[in-house]
Chain length 356, copies 2
């Protein structure tokens, strides 16, 4: 082993067997908010195994403007997309609309026979998630939920270290995520402040610790309890802050918290009998991500800055479609996070552990 | 302001008005475990305002050996100390015996009219703590509990930053402490594994996050809930692991955990609307302590390595005695941590929030 090879190997795509294709997956990008325009379309254009060809929005004007700005093939309204227009121009869809519209766009994609990459959280209730799973199964289309942490090299290497026993028996996990939503979008009428649309900190940010811990441990929580509190004015209808504990099998308890109205912080720490892994920052794609490992008397640290999480995610999704592999974060997997969100709200209402 | 002055000012003793004395406080060191011999006696010898003169142990042989090794004046047994021997040779006592013996040594010190610096946690029950408070009050001796974090420069600077509003409104606190007790002392018959003597992780380590958060916020918790679990063999009678949430006034929730059988980790993080303070490592005196502040777009980091926490603590205690000041971590203050420990055990037994 050389230290140089460790550095280059760190970013490896351990899931990748196919490195190029003459027939990239053509993507329809659904929902043209800042995330899609600034992050997702450029990432899909950078990826080798897929390419954006179609954009779908609420108005013809917006779709046409974004199509032209990015030199794409087709701009559609949601209605035109749902009616099956231009299905020859794309193979799969990427959905980044407000959470409560995921179900209808997935159903339309499935009707059109198109594979689905849908943003997290999956939907606003487990019932709606179940409908999405069923409609994709019936149409025999692939559905992946866009947990970009699962293709983040720092997270994948952490998982390998855990599987190799670097931490011994893990007992404690701590994770926090916060960012100030109103700094990104100061509109107090936005859907992320609306409980009916899947707003609040647990839906908007709490799924990151939840899903990433599940992925790292390879286990699902068996119970959750939570406190939610909203001291600030525009947050009265949804959870501004949440602190939740997740009970996992094998004596692991995760102490997590999330806020959509606190200073940007993102970290995830796992502590075992033999070592510690500390990932910080980890969840915010605009920051370099760092893995710190402590084991015996040794400490090592790896920072990944140039890997684009959205490129990794699009490549992985396209790779699954091109090779016939099942994506790891599928509907059944993502549904569990919605169960956790619902259980945190239930626990915060009544107190105490809610079994999952 | 210059950056150089910031570095030298960082370690300032903001509590200090008297820098030297011709009449240092003479200390009797009670309980000669590894901590007293390796850490406390050398620290008291280094301090300017006090000096160790007497050692007290279970046997004449051990007391005499440690006395001679350290060139001190008198070695006493516990019985001789309790009987008031050699009271001319010391002004105050430092008590570092197992927790469940604190009460009797404090009572003896008070009978002898001696001021007290007693190790944390204060005792094994709130009733015993109350007796210690009363016996010192009646004898009109000063009692300080040895929370060395309160004179740690990193912690004091963090408190000043919080008071100055650097974090805005604090909502979330995370803290974890762990160390492998049996690596330090492999004896499975030791008192730290005995529930009757104040053993277990919450007593042994959980008081660090609890007290330090209280000190930083300037507030006491109003409720606690906890889970305790002991997956490993010699831990069946006490809490090997504990995860506890502390509800503080003003919308602050602290997510804490502690283990006496996990890899060495110690950190404390406070997150507010305007910034973050991350103290890591912080609790283990054999590691340099680091404060990281994030606020607006700026981040700063300070590491203190050469400050000896025990020297700071002895100087502060002696300074209080020489100037007639009341020590901050007095009996009433330290009693609150024992209330928290009892409440965590109660919550872990029955579940749910326990009010304090």
């Amino acid at each position: 082993m050389t230290l140089e090879s460790q550095l280059s190997d760190f970013k490896q795509r351990d899931w990748q067997s196919l490195e190029s294709t003459d027939d990239p997956v053509r993507l329809a990008m659904i929902g043209l908010g800042w995330w899609t325009i600034e992050k997702a379309i450029p990432a899909a254009q950078t990826a080798d195994l897929c390419e954006p060809t179609v954009v779908v929005s609420s108005s013809t004007e917006k779709a046409e403007r974004v199509r032209a700005d990015n030199d794409l093939e087709v701009g559609l309204t949601y209605e035109e997309f749902a009616d099956g227009e231009a299905t020859d121009a794309y193979d799969a869809v990427y959905i980044a609309t407000p959470n409560s519209y995921h179900r209808e766009h997935v159903a339309a994609a499935a009707r059109n026979g198109k594979d689905v990459l849908c943003e997290k959280p999956m939907e606003i209730s487990t019932e709606r998630c179940r409908e999405m799973i069923d409609v994709c199964a019936e149409a025999e289309v692939t559905q992946m939920i866009a947990y970009r942490m699962q293709t983040e090299p720092v997270v994948r290497r952490a998982r390998e270290l855990i599987e190799a026993g670097a931490l011994g028996d893990i007992n404690h996990v701590h994770s926090h995520i916060s960012m100030r939503l109103l700094d990104v979008n100061p509109d107090t009428d936005q859907w992320k402040l609306d409980p009916e649309s899947g707003g609040g900190s647990m839906f908007g940010t709490g799924v990151y610790p939840t899903n990433t811990i599940r992925f790292l441990l390879g286990e699902d929580p068996v119970a959750v309890r939570a406190e939610e509190w909203s001291p600030s004015d525009p947050w009265e209808d949804v959870d501004e802050n949440v602190a939740f504990q997740l009970q996992f099998p094998d004596d692991v308890l995760a102490s997590c918290s999330a806020s959509h109205n606190n200073y940007d912080v993102s970290n995830l720490r796992l502590i075992g009998t033999e070592g510690e892994i500390n990932l910080e920052p980890i969840f915010h794609p605009w920051q370099p991500r760092t893995l710190r490992l402590a084991h015996d008397e040794m400490r090592s640290e790896y920072t990944v800055s140039e890997v684009n999480q959205m490129v990794e995610e699009f490549e992985y999704f396209a790779h699954c479609l091109l090779t016939g592999a099942d994506p790891h974060p599928d509907g059944e997997h993502a549904l569990v996070d919605i169960e956790v969100v619902q259980a945190t709200h239930e626990s915060a209402d009544g107190g105490g552990w809610v079994s999952l």
